[in-house]
Amino acid sequence: MFRRYNLNTQFKKGILDLVILKSVQDQEMYGFEIIEKLSDLLSINENTIYPILRRLTEQKLFETYTTDSPLGAKRKYYRITERGKKRLNNYLNEYNTFINNVDEILNRRNDQ
């Protein structure tokens, strides 16, 4: 038996939130750095990432700070907040449950 899981649209939308939250938790990054890193890895359009950063910051899941760059332009770094960490844990739990359930279905079919 596997646990009942509600796959909701929020979860689907949350995949990108999850990835961005995790990336910033692992390493504080400035905006364009996040955009480049994730768009290369996930093959997604670069201009979809900044709106998510802005939304997560408005939701107080990220906070920002500015530092001077040796190359000239100031850089705005993103750092995950406590609220962001809790949200990230929620997303990770949902994601892991979902993946486990999918694995269970796939393995059961293979066994049969």
């Binding site: 364009f32 201009n47 802005r54 939304r55 939701q59 000239g72 332009a73 609220r83 809790k86």
Partner: protein, 387 residues
Amino acid sequence: MSKEQFINELTSYLKARNVIESDIKAVVEDYKELYGEAQDRGLSDVEIFEKLGTPRSIYLALRDTLSIRYVSSNRNKIVAVSPFVAIILFFIIGLGFNLYDYAWMSFLLIPISAILINVKGSDRIISLTPFISIVIFMITGFLFDWWHPMWLIFFSIPISAIILKTKNKDTVIGLSPFVITIIYFLVAVLINPEFYRYGFAMYALIPIIAILLHPLNTKRITMLILIVLAVFGHLFAGFVYDGWSYSWAAYLVPVIFGIIIGDITFESELGWRDKKQKSTLLSLIVIVAVYFAVSYLVGGIWNWSWIILLLFPMASIYIHNGIKHPVSFMPFIATITFMILGTFFGLWDYAWLVYLSIPIVAIVTDKKPGITIKKSKVLEEIDDDSI
């Protein structure tokens, strides 16, 4: 495109979408930084532009997180005050001068002020014509008893829409039924009542004008000849044999010819391409026909039967917008109700209250807040946040 151009375009685009200043400032600052960071990485302007997107794509992606200012609060205040101004005017004109026949028109200030303030460009003129028509119609009716043919003033509604919304051939073709009808009635009423009988032939000009404004081919030339012959037959049978009662049948010949050659689409090729245009014209014809039938058959009701004509702007609104904006029907419903209560029940003293239904419906059905602000699924998510 340079960084400065990119930032200017983004700023202008957000301003044009009524995004509030603080949000524009925050987004623009972020994009300045993103642009600078991308430059530090050695990307060219073209590459950066491709990565950051167009102002439009940025706006669409950010829309849920932006606060949008819908309308100016001062303007809304004027509209909100208009019902009270209308009531005061009503009592001043009615009580002060005992002119209740005219006083009720002060309530038309409510929709008129809303249109003047919130509707822009040519739509403003089109939206105002029903109310200007009512005022002119009522004043000339009361003062000079010109109920007929002054009802033709209501043709200003489709005429203004055709002049302002169509071009070239479509304008001429669209106007022709109204201009001909106006001439037909004015000549018959003001010059010679006999014109009602033979002047009817003028309506043949509508298809003739439409045909002549398009490239001629054999079918159209044949149709032209048949229409001219039908006019001749109609007038000949009428004048020579006094056969006005049957001579109109001559027009059946070009009509049947049109059907036989499959020219049902002929009309649509000649200007009435849009189903909505056809429905509007059809509703106008039906409503004017009902107006005349009722007015002539009952007799002595010209002073109130004109309310039937208000069904036309209502039908027009319904055809074009459905019932998306219930308040747009209210001035007409209120006027019809006012006239019915006053005429049939003698409740002129109280009937004016129905005009208060206009602002009430506007308030009840208004989905937009007075000043701003569409913030955002972001805040909803914060509220929902159970972490």
